[in-house]
Structure formats: C-alpha cells, structure tokens
C-alpha cells in the first residue's frame, strides 16, 4: 500500500448540485443588468446615479450591520446588491438621490438586518425600502418625468441632486422646458385610472412609456425573467401564478362589475407587475415553499394587485400586494404542508 492518504470524512451525500447561493444571486444580478441598462438608456444620467446611490447605500448598510453583529462579511453573497438594484429600479427616475439612500438604508435595516440577515426576513427587503419612502416622501415618489428626452445623458433632472433632508425642487418647469410631446409625465396606469386613456400594448411591451425606472419594458423583463427561469434560478410557478391571478381577477371583475372592468392584457403589461412578478414576488425568502402554497400566494398577489389598482386610492398595487403576500406566507405555508408519500391510504 502507498503512503497513507489524508482521509476526509463527510456525511452523505457526497455529491452536490452545481448551484449555490452565490451563483444564484450572481445570475439574478446578471439578469437585472439589461433592465438597468435599458432604464439608463431611457432616462439617462439621473437613473444611473440613482442605481449607484441606492445600491451603494444597501451595501454599506449591510456592511454596517455585519460589523454590529457577527462581524461576518455578507456582501459576497450578492443579495444586498440585488436588493439595491431592484429597489432603485422601482423608484421614479427623478427620485432625489438622498431619498434613494434613505430607501436603501430602510430596505436593509428594517427589511433584513433586523430579522437576522439573509433568508431570515419575512417581507421583501427591497419593497420594504420602497414602501418606507413611499410613505415618507409621497410627493417625490409620485413625481414622474418623461422618458427619452434629448440631453438626458448630459443633465440630471433637477430633483435628482436635491440636498439631503431638503425638499427637491419641482420638476414641472423643467419638464415644460424639455418640450417632449410624445411622453407626458403620467404613467400608463394613472392615465388609465384618472383619464381613461389606454396606452398601446406595443408601447407597454417595448417600454415607450414612463414609470418607475425599471418597470417600463414588459418584454425585456419577461426575457430576463425567462432566462432565470430556464436556468432554474427562480421558481417559474410564482410569476406564472401571479400573472394568472391578475388575468383571472380581471376577467372575473369584468363579469361582476363591467363598469370598472380592467383589461387583463393592460393589467398584465402595465406598471410594475412584470418586474414584481418575475423578480420580487419570486424572491423565495418571502414566498411559500410548498407547491400548493405557491399557487395560493401567486393568486393572492395577482388578485390584490388588480383590486388595489381598480378600487383603491393608489394607481399601482403590485408593491403592496407582494408585501401582503409575503406577510401571509407563513399562514399559507401552515395550511399547505405537503401530503407525504404514502400518507393517503391507496386502494
């Protein structure tokens, strides 16, 4: 026999699937990059600065809580980067940077670190951050600016660079100066709700609208989401059931209440639904692990979205629907524990 080798003793199984947390998260970042790129192309410098600020704020907050707690550096798992990117993508393009930094801080601290970090949170951190600034700065977060204006790569929106804690200047006069006629400031959902104007589906798909930085092009989001789904990095059942819930509720409402009947196609491709369904509802930390639970969760989010959009005070409901879905997840999971193999008497 040869020299005695160094023997390692490990427990079964001795094989492991190639995926690990870092790889999954890194791929989500990859999938978000095209969306971020499109947002920058569409809205220009302001969005670029916003993406950087918010992500940085998330990373710094994460690091701060690392230091307060275990001392273990968790930036390497990329999850805080995802939180930052997604959060920035859900904010209005001209959102003041300092408010973006506040959002990032709230996302990681209130949404994640408080509960023990990765995997321990109950609600989606990015959305906690957004809900926080939505409640804190309701004016800034409902201020929309036009897309594709000339000079977007050479100038910031005036509100972007507002000084910390100070009120951002109004963008109205700036928008008028830009003299864009193709895209007004209002989002498709607001146009629909308050003025009864329906945006073209093609425009919704290709992103020829305004809205939050990263939500405009439904098609691009779909493609990036499908990339992840095919690589099994996200659970395709969630976006599918969310979209199913939206379609189903829209159709049901058109039977019950034809006057307000939402158009299912419009509901699906407008607002943040695509981004929410593919990237935020699908965050596995806040969604059920049981198959039946996933179905209920998705349908709940989809139907809440439509109900809030149609009957609520807000034009958009995806964020709140997902947060409520997250909150309901523990209950959903409790009532949908899987039936184990051989439990039902088979006759």
């Amino acid at each position: 026999m040869k020299t005695k080798p160094q023997i390692e003793l490990r427990t079964t199984p001795h094989a492991h699937a190639p995926d690990d947390v870092v790889r999954i998260m890194r791929n989500v970042v990859y999938a978000l990059l095209p969306i971020a790129g499109f947002a920058i192309w569409q809205f220009g410098l302001s969005v670029l600065a916003l993406l950087i600020t918010v992500t940085l704020s998330c990373l710094l907050t994460e690091r701060f809580f690392n230091w307060m707690g275990s001392g273990y550096n968790s930036l390497g798992d990329w999850s805080a980067t995802i939180t930052g990117l997604l959060l920035a993508l859900t904010l209005p393009p001209a959102f003041p940077l300092w408010m973006g930094a506040v959002a990032g801080f709230a996302a990681i601290s209130l949404g994640k670190a408080l509960f023990g970090g990765l995997g321990m949170n109950v609600l989606n951190p990015a959305l906690v951050g957004r809900a926080f600034v939505q409640a804190a700065f309701p004016v800034a977060i409902t201020t929309w600016t036009p897309a594709f204006f000339d000079g977007r790569f050479s100038q910031f929106a005036p509100s972007t660079l507002a000084l910390p804690f100070l009120r951002p200047p109004s963008v109205d006069s700036w928008v008028e100066l830009l003299q864009v006629d193709a895209f007004s400031g209002a989002t498709p959902l607001a146009l629909h709700k308050f003025e009864g104007i329906q945006t073209d589906t093609i425009d919704l798909l290709t992103g020829m609208t305004t809205g939050s930085a990263g939500e405009t092009s439904a098609l691009l989001i779909l493609v990036c989401g499908l990339y992840l789904a095919f690589r099994r990095m996200l659970d395709w059942r969630i976006p599918l059931t969310v979209m199913g819930g939206v379609a189903l509720t829209s159709v049901l409402l058109s039977l019950v209440d034809p006057e307000k009947a939402p158009d299912a196609i419009f509901m699906l491709f407008s607002g943040g639904l695509m981004l929410g369904a593919w990237f935020m509802a699908s965050d596995m930390v806040g969604s059920p692990v049981t198959p039946l639970g996933v179905l209920i969760y998705g349908l709940l989010i989809g139907s809440l979205t439509v109900v809030i959009r149609v009957y609520g005070g807000l034009t958009e409901g995806v964020m709140y629907a997902i947060l409520l879905g997250n909150a309901a997840t523990p209950l959903i999971e409790q009532i949908t524990q899987p039936r184990i193999f051989g439990q039902r008497a088979n006759k």
């Binding site: 309701p138 004016v139 201020t143 308050f194 005070g313």
Partner: protein
C-alpha cells in the same frame, strides 16, 4: 367580579356611594365646563362660517326636515340636515353654510362650504377634518390654485328645481373648462375628487330643498341673533 358569599350590604352601599360620587363629580364638571365648551364650539363654527360666507358677522341655524326648512330650535332628528345662515351687520342674508363629506385617500374628509344664493354658487370651503397625507392630500387646504376653484363654483339648479343643472365634477389638473368643474391638484387627484364628490352630493340633496324656501331665512328675526347656539357633534 365573583358574586357569591359576600355580605350584600357593604357591597351595595359602596357601589351606590361610588356611583353617586361619580355622578356628582361628572355633573359638576359638566356644568362648570359647559359655557366654555359652548363658547369654544360657537367660535369654531362661526370662524368656519364666516370664512366660507365672506362678510358675515352673525348667524342663525336651520334644519331641513320633512316639513321643510325650520329654525334649529328643536332637537335634530335623524334624517334632518343642519345648515347655518350668515348675515351681515345689517341683517341681510349673505349666504348659507352646510356640511359635506366624502371618502378621501386615507379617511373621510369633512368640509363646510358656503353657498351664495345670489350667484347660485359656492363661495368657499373650509376643511373641518381630514386625515390625508401631509404634503399631498392636505394641499386641498394649502394649494391656492385649488382653493381658487371655490371662489364661484356654479351650483345652479336645473329647471325642474329637483337637481343641479350641472353636477360638480373634478377634472384633471389644468383642464378646467366650466364654472361647475373643479381643477384637481396634480398628485392629489383622489383628495381633490373627494372634495368634488362631497360638494356634489351635499348640494344635490340640500339645494333643491333650500332654494324654494330661501325667503324664509332671508331676514333674521331679532330674538334669534344671539340666542342660538346649537351643539355640533364632534
């Protein structure tokens, strides 16, 4: 509060004693504070009234009941609508004020609005209570452009006198065309719409009853100038 096995005497004595003591204290307080509270309330109402009926210095209260418009000397019955009439120092009717409310963004918005029988229009509104988002929904108070909607908001009655000639509607910011339209605040469309809805519903219910009876309140009778302090519920 276990019942049994206690001498009933002291128990009853204590309860009755405490109840009497408490009643006494409450009644005393009530009587002692009542004038102040009434005064506070009168001031509050009049401040609001004189704001929405510019120029008014005195007031009288009326009820719209099944029988028509009567002075609010009796107790208000369910279904009655209370309104206030404002007069100038010569006793000439300047306008009337009534309550309106509708669901806003966060909760009900309560308003007092002033109606001018001469121009058949609303001359001003005062928000009594709101829980809208500060900075957004509370623009219905602070935004001068919005407040300007109520300098002369047309509420002419239709020919049959049973409803408004034109319903009050809130339109998107910057698209106001007619005197009966309210130009919404951009960014607070919901609160703006709630104001429109509240006015519309109240005016639709009140004015057809009020306008035919306007002579009844046209002049004030002397004895009622000061005596009338009706309690308004919070």
């Amino acid at each position: 509060m276990q019942q049994p096995a206690a001498p009933a005497g002291p128990m009853v004595r204590t309860l009755v004693g405490v109840a009497m003591l408490s009643g006494l204290l409450v009644v005393l307080t009530f009587h002692f504070t009542k004038p102040y509270i009434d005064e506070n309330q009168r001031r509050a109402i009049e401040a609001a009234l004189f704001q929405v009926v510019p120029g008014a210095v005195t007031r009288r209260d009326f009820l719209v009941t099944e029988k028509g418009v009567v002075p609010a000397t009796e107790k208000k019955q369910p279904g009655d609508t209370l309104f206030y009439a404002g007069y100038d120092d010569k006793g000439k009717l300047l306008g009337i004020a009534a309550n309106a409310r509708a669901q806003g963004y966060a909760n009900l918005i309560h308003l007092l609005y002033g109606y001018d029988p001469v121009c058949q229009c609303i001359r001003g509104i005062k928000v009594l209570k709101l829980a809208e988002t500060p900075g957004l929904g509370d623009k219905i108070i602070t935004d001068p452009a919005f407040v300007a909607n109520f300098e002369a908001l047309d509420v002419t009655l239709a020919e049959d006198g049973k409803t408004l000639a034109n319903e009050i509607v809130t339109v998107k910011h910057g698209s106001k065309q007619n005197q009966w339209e309210i130009d919404a605040i951009s960014g607070a469309t919901i609160s703006s719409k709630a104001v429109g809805k509240a006015l519309n519903e109240s005016a639709k219910a009140l004015l057809p009853m009020l306008v035919p009876n306007i002579e009844a309140i046209e002049t004030r009778s002397e004895e009622q100038v000061t005596g009338d302090r009706l309690k308004v519920k919070g």
